[in-house]
Amino acid sequence: MRVALFLTCVNDTLYPDTGRAVVRLLSRLGVDVDFPAGQTCCGQAHYNTGYRHEAEPLALRYAEVFAGYDAIVTPSGSCGAMVRELYPRMGERARAEGRGDTLARSLAPVVPKTYELTEFLVDVLGVTDVGAYYPHKVTYHPTCHGLRGLGLGGRPYQLLQAVKGLDLVELPGAEECCGFGGTFAVKNSDVSAAMGSDKVRSAESTGAEVLCAADNSCLMHIGGTMSRLKVGMRPVHIAEILASTEKEPLL
């Protein structure tokens, strides 16, 4: 199976540890993952801010770079949802606007082969116990696009529950948005910040040391709020927890 890692521009630039964790985790599970260097960004920020036409060349790039792989794995619920949910819509719109089939046809083979990391582990590899070790109290925030866009459902919980030493505690109001929302965090910063601090306060109420999610963009917003509010918790991407083992624990 030829598997490609779609790391996303945010992870590549700001959270390389997450990328390294995915590589480490997948190779431990016997998957040889490739990182096609031509990849950049899925175009979600463009699309969601109202610049669909600027997102189209990025979608085409995605289709070209990842063509030929059996699976494309991404450690981001929102970029995964962009590809799976919104790329087909972009193709349809281009067609409806009389701009031909190129976009829709190019995207058709790669869209269904794109998996968010926890989906790939549970659905494709068929594992829920990845042999991880992480002796901490953890709470999980199911990010909106992972939860409602991709329908990740119980997969992340199954994976976390199987981690040795990990004490998983329920997050009150887990399904409520953290308030990131891409450019929303800047355009409506008052509301975004209020949502963020509410999320941090409810995470704090669990007594967990770590808030874990499958999306570093949301974690950037939540973690930045935790840091500002001097809350003794830290945000960690689920890939880093799953990559952690007794021999090589996540520090």
């Binding site: 390389p16 109202g50 669909r52 910063s189 500002r228 830290r234």
Partner: protein, 503 residues
């Protein structure tokens, strides 16, 4: 009206308002979830509601003509209003023809949309709201802030003060020594309103549904005040948006299940009033239906945006929306607040005004509104569609004419940034150069950002930029196969005062 972010600022910083809203929305949302979970065919009902509405909207011309015929045959008179001014003029003329100077009203968002009360006042006609929450809003010289609970922003103490102070100005005064006990407040409202109902000769209503095949109008309400308004006056004038029509009586079955569960979390609605034209010995002897367009056919012309017309005004999207919960309904500057308002108002009114141009951005696109919508309006999809219209311009229909909108002002910097980002993302080499520059200068990065980024760093700390981007690590270590060496990407997760191992 100010733009949404400005209007939301005050609400966000008002702890009492936020507490009230949080309590109310969470209570209703939990109840709704339980009421919906009782039905194992909810998904099918939702799909059926969507299909009925879509079908009706696709053949709206046909069903409206059929409705007109049915209403006329049942003894009613149908009037067509293209916009707010025309609708207001029709209603004012009808009231004047009766010789009356007072009307009672049952909650009608369409009449709020067109500013009917103000228009009638200008003609010397007083319009009295009779829905309890609408009464509170009217007496308080206030605006509604919620579709279902228009006075959600008021607490009991405030309501008591409003009643005690204002009721005598409008009619029967509040009892002396009125407390803020809900039963006492309801009693005061009942006495005040009873006085109005028994004197009124003209009633004005909206409608939740209109049945084309029979000419029947339907109002769904919880208090019974609506029924008084609909049955006691001699003349009844109903002002209804054209999208409220359904083809047959049978279609009501779906909505009379989904609407109450979605809005009040009730299995069955308490007062469902239906009237068909006039009859000799019951209800009004003169019935007028004013069919209101006011931007609806323009909305219908938009392939993506038209789904907003499926809305049955249940308010489930408001109660589940994290943005509404913090910003409150007034911030939306529209009679339709919350997620549905954010897509409906800029379509009905156009995107020219400051508030209308800001509404499509009043969402984090979390998708909770779409999940709860009983007619499956993909609100996030329409929000993004309208953002595109504002940021990039594009084709629209206004007053029946095709036009091409120019991009809205104030988006030039953003547009340039999006183009620049697309340029860089189109060239992995350029992206990499930028990442490396960021990594090399990471010790120099400021803790706060200039320009629009200031809004971020005002309340959140920025993540530190790592020593090297992932793609450099990948190349240097051949995808992790070679030794990592000493170079670490450290520090990415460190937050103030917390060590990485969490000890």
């Amino acid at each position: 009206m100010p733009a949404f972010p400005k209007a939301a600022h005050d609400a966000v910083n008002n702890p009492t308002l936020r507490g009230n809203l949080r309590h109310a929305t969470h209570t209703i949302r939990d109840k709704r979830a339980a009421a919906v979970a009782e039905l194992d065919d909810w998904a099918q009902l939702r799909e059926a509601g969507k299909q009925i509405k879509d079908h009706t909207l696709r053949h709206l011309d046909r069903y409206l003509v059929q409705l007109e015929e049915s209403v006329t045959a049942a003894g009613g008179t149908v009037h067509w209003a293209a916009d707010a001014d025309e609708a207001n003029r029709i209603v004012a003329d009808l009231v004047k023809a009766t010789g009356e100077t007072e009307v009672v009203k049952v909650k009608s968002m369409a009449t709020q949309e067109i500013g009917l009360n103000e228009a009638l006042e200008a003609e010397g006609i007083a319009a009295y709201e009779t829905d309890l929450a609408e009464l509170i809003v009217q007496l308080g010289k206030d605006r509604p802030s919620h579709i279902l609970v228009p006075a959600i922003h008021r607490n009991r103490g405030e309501i008591r003060d409003i009643f005690a102070r204002e009721m005598s100005e409008w009619g029967r005064a509040a009892p002396v020594g009125l407390t803020d006990n809900p039963a006492d407040l309801a009693d005061a409202a009942r006495l005040h309103l009873r006085d109005k109902f028994l004197r009124a000769k003209v009633g004005v209503s909206g409608a939740n549904f209109m049945v084309a095949e029979t000419g029947t109008l339907v109002v769904v309400e919880s208090e019974g005040n609506g029924r008084m308004c609909l049955t006691l006056p001699e003349t009844l004038i109903s002002v209804v948006g054209i999208e409220k029509v359904v083809p047959t009586w049978r279609d009501l079955e779906v909505f009379l299940q989904t609407l109450p569960r979605s809005s009040t979390a009730e299995r069955m609605n308490p007062y469902t009033s239906m009237w068909t034209g006039t009859s000799e010995d019951d209800g009004p002897s003169d019935f007028h239906l004013v069919l209101l367009d006011n931007g609806r056919t323009d909305t219908l012309a938009d392939e993506v945006g038209r789904q907003a017309l499926r809305c049955i005004r249940c308010s489930a999207c408001l109660n589940v929306c994290p943005v509404y919960e913090r910003a409150g309904g007034h911030a939306y500057g529209s009679v339709y607040p919350g997620p549905i308002g954010a897509i409906l108002s800029p379509q009905l009114r156009g995107t020219q005004s400051e508030v209308d141009a800001s509404l499509p951005y009043a969402s984090s696109l979390c998708g909770a509104c779409y999940d709860v919508c009983p007619v499956a309006i993909d609100i996030p999809e329409v929000l993004v569609h309208l953002r595109e219209r504002i940021a990039q311009g594009g084709p629209v229909t206004r007053e029946g004419n095709k036009a091409v909108l120019k991009p809205a002002k104030g988006h030039a910097a953003e547009r340039a940034a999006m183009r620049a980002a697309r340029w860089a993302f189109g060239r992995p080499g350029a992206l990499r150069a930028g990442q490396r520059l960021a990594s090399r200068t990471r010790k120099l990065h400021p803790r706060t950002l200039p320009g629009p980024g200031k809004a971020w760093s005002a309340t959140r700390d920025l993540p530190p930029v790592p020593a090297e981007p992932f793609r450099d690590w990948w190349q240097r270590t051949d995808g992790g196969k070679k030794s990592d060496g000493d170079k670490k990407t450290d520090g990415v997760r460190k937050t103030d005062g917390v060590t990485k191992d969490g000890k």
